[in-house]
């Protein structure tokens, strides 16, 4: 296989380990960092191999606990690229490690967009359609055929994606780094990332008030309509910026999470939501 041509034995072994780990990316899924814990878990073979110094390892581990979410067949491709960048970072003292997460973030959105519609939207429906017919005919192989038909491409793409990501990364990142393209790319990736975070904030952070003022039994003011006429999504934005501000002030994340829970119940008791 062409993909593995220039890789050392150690590298192939690491990539294979990462591939197996990447299957579990979402098992620790949570509303704060989604697959972040699983991403970090999948990167451990790389981090262990590239960094001999304990402090460097800690920083690398921490980097990969950040928010990450994409369709799982494409996850290993991003991990492969991140792995090749970690290699670069471990060898070049003035490599900007920020670029690693910037690249990850810029890839996850578009890949999720393609992957979700391709895998969940199209391929799963095709496989299920096939299996439903068999099951209705009483064929006990129906569930097995469904699983095999869905998962063979699922696993193949994830397997070769891991090698492809790492090879592409190794091939181009060094060259881009020496020509100063990485810095430009990091900025471009950050722009892409910021636009996506803005979009996701509106789409994923949801808030709607039921508060309304009445006079003589008639509704004279619907607060949500007023808020929407000021700016659609103003409350989710404010909540997000408040969290951002608190994080900057080094407030503990757990405290923020519990704060939001208390706030939700409080608003509900007050009849605002």
């Amino acid at each position: 296989m062409k993909l593995t041509q220039n890789l050392s034995k150690d590298e192939k072994k690491m990539i294979r380990k990462m591939f197996w780990r990447s299957a579990t990316m979402y098992i620790s899924v949570n509303p704060i960092t989604m697959g972040g814990g699983g991403f970090c878990y999948s990167m451990i073979p790389f981090i262990h191999h590239f960094y001999k110094n304990k402090e460097d390892r800690k920083l690398a581990l921490e980097r990969h606990t950040a928010y990450f979410s994409t369709t799982i067949p494409f996850a290993s491709f991003v991990m492969g690229i991140a792995g090749s960048m970690e290699k670069e970072n471990s060898e070049k003292p003035n490599f900007d490690p920020k670029s690693i997460n910037a690249i990850k973030l810029s890839l996850m959105g578009p890949l999720a967009g393609i992957g979700d519609s391709l895998f969940w939207g199209v391929w799963r429906v095709v496989c299920a359609g096939l299996a439903i017919g068999l099951a209705n005919a009483g064929n006990f192989l129906a569930p097995l055929i469904f699983l095999l038909a869905f998962n063979i491409p699922n696993y193949l793409i994830r397997y070769y994606g891991a090698f492809l990501g790492y090879s592409l990364g190794s091939k181009y990142i060094e060259k881009m780094y020496s020509e100063g393209i990485i810095a430009v790319l990091t900025k471009a990736a950050s722009i892409l990332g910021l636009i996506m975070v803005g979009a996701m904030t509106v789409q994923m952070v949801k808030f709607k008030t039921v508060l309304a003022f009445h006079m003589h039994g008639k509704e004279i003011m619907n607060v949500q309509n007023v808020l929407d006429s000021i700016f659609v999504g103003i409350i989710p934005l404010l909540i997000t910026f408040l969290c951002f501000y608190l994080l900057k002030k080094k407030v503990n994340v757990i405290a923020i999470i519990f704060g939001i829970m208390v706030l939700g119940v409080l608003l509900s008791v007050l009849g605002i939501v």
């Binding site: 509303p31 959105g109 869905f150 393209i181 636009i195 939001i260 939700g264 509900s268």
Partner: protein, 266 residues
Amino acid sequence: MYDAIVVAFAVFAGVAGHELLGMSMLSRPIVVAPLTGLLLGYLNTGLLVGASLETIFMGVVNIGISSTAEPSLAAGLATVFSINMGGNMGAIIPLVFPLAILGLQLMNLIFSFVIGPFAPKFRKLALEGKEKSIVGLHYGLWFLHYGLYALIPFFAVLFGSDVVRDVLNSIPKVIMNGLTVAGNMLPAVGMAMLLMMLWDNKIAAYFFLGVVLVAYLKLPLIAVATIAFIIAVVVSPRDLQLKKMATASAPDVNAAISDEEEDFFK
């Protein structure tokens, strides 16, 4: 009792296996219902329930929290109830959609309020360099998440679905509503953590572009990603040129521009 254990096992194997094996679709009704049927000795009923539920839930995909129903719970319960009623599926089918919606709500409660508070722990362990604990936490949360979820069909079959509904109804509505609202706000913390990483006054304006594209133009994320990609492609060559000019002649060309922009956004 045996029925309850079997359903709990089948639902756990479905949802937990689905996540563990790379979103392998083990949690779909076409898998969970025949598995339940097989273990109870009524494979054929399981296959039929699986086929009809798979058809009903064809459009439902569970990716994170952006879903409408969680069908594996409904698949397990519908199979047991059908078998207990002598293979009469017709009476069960109208129940499955409410069951699946309830399943999703309970799954989201576990997701937000049991798993959510553990999320920052990954970063903490990483900073302490405790690799083994990261692995443990990763798998521990998996077991906790889906183990708790599998208890629901266990008790539902053990006590009958009426008792379960009564228990859920006894939680004050105002508290449930508040928790749901809080669950909808929680992703703000994740977004804020991303902003911690990406925020830079020089390019922060782009954040609001993303906001407007979704809030007002209602564009799907893939369209936003394409627009963002185009902007990144257009901006990069100019940056590269600036960088070359800066290294070639005056090194403060870049600095002067960014100062100006920074003042503007402050």
